[in-house]
Amino acid sequence: MTETLRSPLLFALVAALLIGTGIVQGWNSALVILNMGLISAIMALGVNLQWGFAGLFNVGVMGFVALGGLAAVLVSMPPVPDAWSAGGPRIVVAMLLGAATIFVAMVVQRRIPPGRSRTWATIGVLVAGFILYRLAFDPAKSAVESVDPASTGYLGGLGLPIVLAWPVGAALAAGAAWIIGKTALGLRSDYLAIATLGIAEIIIAILKNEDWLARGVKNVSGLPRPVPLEIDLQQDPGFVERAAGLGFDPVLASTLYVKLAYAALFALVLIALIWLAQKALASPWGRMMRAIRDNEVAAEAMGKDVTARHLQIFILGSAICGLAGAMMTTLDGQLTPGTYQPLRFTFLIWVMVIVGGSGNNFGAVLGGFLIWWLWVQVEPIGLGVMNLITSGMADGSWLKDHLLDSAAHMRLLTMGLILLIVLRFSPRGLIPER
């Protein structure tokens, strides 16, 4: 099989898998998988930018994705006026105090010559600033959280259209990436991995516990949608007529229509990003990135600022993950911090990139679709396999029950095995870098 034929065939295979799902399990399921596959492909593009272009190992994808989800809430939900009058301005003041503390500490670091006095001055500024911040923040926080905690208890958002949240999510993720990159880039490659692992856990902890921000584990649901509601469509006589004209039941037609509308929106973003990433890859900038990845010492000798370029691409890749996170929360219509798990949101994306082909944008996209399809389907397949294995055993025997129960855990095992097998036998992935 020639290289040029390979990728169209693989994409045709993914399309066939989706169509097969549509025929066997219903078109709604197929479209659910397609929509999440589109989002996964965008996340994979972001990680591929970092790993494939620059060789940076980011294991904090989950955190950036969650920041995107936070952006969706902050931008699109209507503001809660009572909460704002109860403590909104005070929270803003507290945040400014916190920022001022860090700023003063940085000034101290820069102005005072290194030595014991500088260390103590920095610590003093930080401690005093922290106390001031807590004095301003704690009462404001409890005031906001006590405003009708069952339905709001948070500041709400800006009440803007949710599509605006997508770039905002990217910006939030970029900000977090800047902090991490400034600290951990330029050191050993493992340090970036550990630092990103840490920031992801902390972002999730913040989302779970800061109720004033996005209601914590009480979740924010009913986010505004960029597409019409199914119910509205079913009550629209024009839509019902058109559906009947095509031979569809109105309920089925409305669900399919909404999912297709999401798919079109997501596909638009994905195509734009692929185009940008391809342009970047072929540009002098992309060549420089790959040169740095392949030999940092040589690139540095040619006068390239390796750490600055790494920081740049790390921020770009994380921003794409944030964008995808905002899109995902838009699709779900709710922000549920409890569902963010690193195995699902960080490591699965990595499997996508590596299986698809790191360094190749189309490879990453293919991996996104293929692995997402597999992730969804492994559970029913695993259950089928387990049923087959245990069919000869007596009903009620503990081994049979145990095996049937554990079919639910097949996913992690399968994903790990796929990753290890691809790394071992085809380390460049399904669509290798050119």
Partner: protein, 336 residues
């Protein structure tokens, strides 16, 4: 009297728990740091190695309990620990054969090893869930307390009580034994010395006839023993949840880096630094300060610097500070 009461409260809620936790972290960080020193990569599968070893030990504990074998006041899990260690050893040796050895022969970049260890982590995580499921398991039995709050109050006549749980004392004792054995091995035996030589300078070690595969094998065995021990002690102390072990990766890595990656002494120090910082910062100090300060100054709030939900933020903050100001760690590790 007030000062004594303050001390007792502090010991009860900060000193004792932090010491036990620090010992568990230190054992975990020792494993990470040894892998880093000899095999030269950050092993992301370490948390799940701990979980797997613990799961095996728990199964063995249940078997022993069913057979009516126990240690009286001590937890049965102590008898089951060797089984857990053997299980973890078998697992890591199989993994090394099947996975890591190939990449060692290819001499790939360390970051590839890290990605491979991520795949291994996935597989271990699935295996652990396969073996024992996802539910919480409590497997501590025997005497619960060495000193209970009431006994302490009656014996001393103080207003505040102090409790020392068996598992906490046991953690520290077992950790001391394990660390003593490890250092004896590294400093006194021929194999241990060859390991240190290999860690200091691989090429020189190879030239002087050290068999690298043997060094790697012994390292994995030691790491598996440390991981299973740390896992069982943590599980005895706080209960076993497969997912928590994965989250322990962050404080463990932080401990290893704070101490200086590749430096065993540093790993122990780092473990205690992280544990004490975490427990002190997330404990409400109101009661301690209430005894120490005059009444007019007594704080109104809880004086809890961060809620316990942010304990990871503590390890992370310390990690960031160390990376910013002293990337080689407190004890001069090898990483830059």
């Amino acid at each position: 009297m007030d000062a004594l009461n303050a001390l007792v409260v502090f010991a009860n809620f900060v000193l004792i728990p932090a010491t036990a936790y620090g010992a568990q972290l230190a054992l975990g960080a020792l494993g990470v740091t040894l892998i880093y020193g000899i095999l030269r990569f950050s092993n992301f599968a370490h948390g799940d190695t701990m979980a797997f070893g613990t799961a095996v030990a728990i199964l063995a504990t249940w078997a022993l309990q069913a057979a009516g074998i126990g240690l009286g006041p001590l937890p049965t899990a102590l008898l089951a620990l060797p089984v857990g260690i053997l299980g973890a050893m078998a697992l890591v040796l199989l993994t090394d054969r099947g996975v890591y050895r190939f990449y060692r022969a290819q001499r790939v970049k360390p970051v590839i090893f890290v990605i491979v260890s991520m795949g291994v982590m996935f597989v271990y995580n699935g295996l652990t869930r396969f073996v024992i499921g996802v539910d919480d398991q409590r497997f501590a039995d025997g005497e619960r307390f060495v000193i209970s709050v009431r006994e302490f109050r009656e014996a001393t006549g103080l207003a505040e009580g102090l409790a020392l749980r068996t598992t906490q004392l046991l953690t520290v004792v077992v950790a001391i034994i394990a660390v003593a054995l490890l250092f004896w091995f590294l400093n006194r035996t021929r194999t241990g010395k060859s390991m240190r030589a290999f860690s200091d300078n691989e090429d020189l070690a190879l030239l002087s006839g050290i068999n690298p595969e043997r060094v790697v094998l012994v390292t994995w065995l030691i790491v598996a023993a440390l991981a299973a021990t740390a896992g069982v002690l943590y599980g005895l102390d706080k209960g076993f949840k497969p997912f928590v072990y994965f989250q322990l990766l962050l404080p463990i890595f932080a401990a290893a880096i704070v101490g200086g990656l590749g430096n065993p002494l540093g790993a122990i120090a780092g473990g205690f630094v992280i544990a004490f910082a975490e427990v002190t910062i997330t404990y409400p100090l109101k009661r301690v300060l209430g005894y120490l300060l005059p009444e007019s100054l007594e704080p109104d709030g809880l004086v809890q610097l961060l809620t316990t939900d942010y304990k990871f933020a503590v390890s992370f903050g310390i990690l960031l500070v160390v990376l910013l100001f002293r990337p080689t760690g407190l004890f001069k590790g090898k990483a830059v």
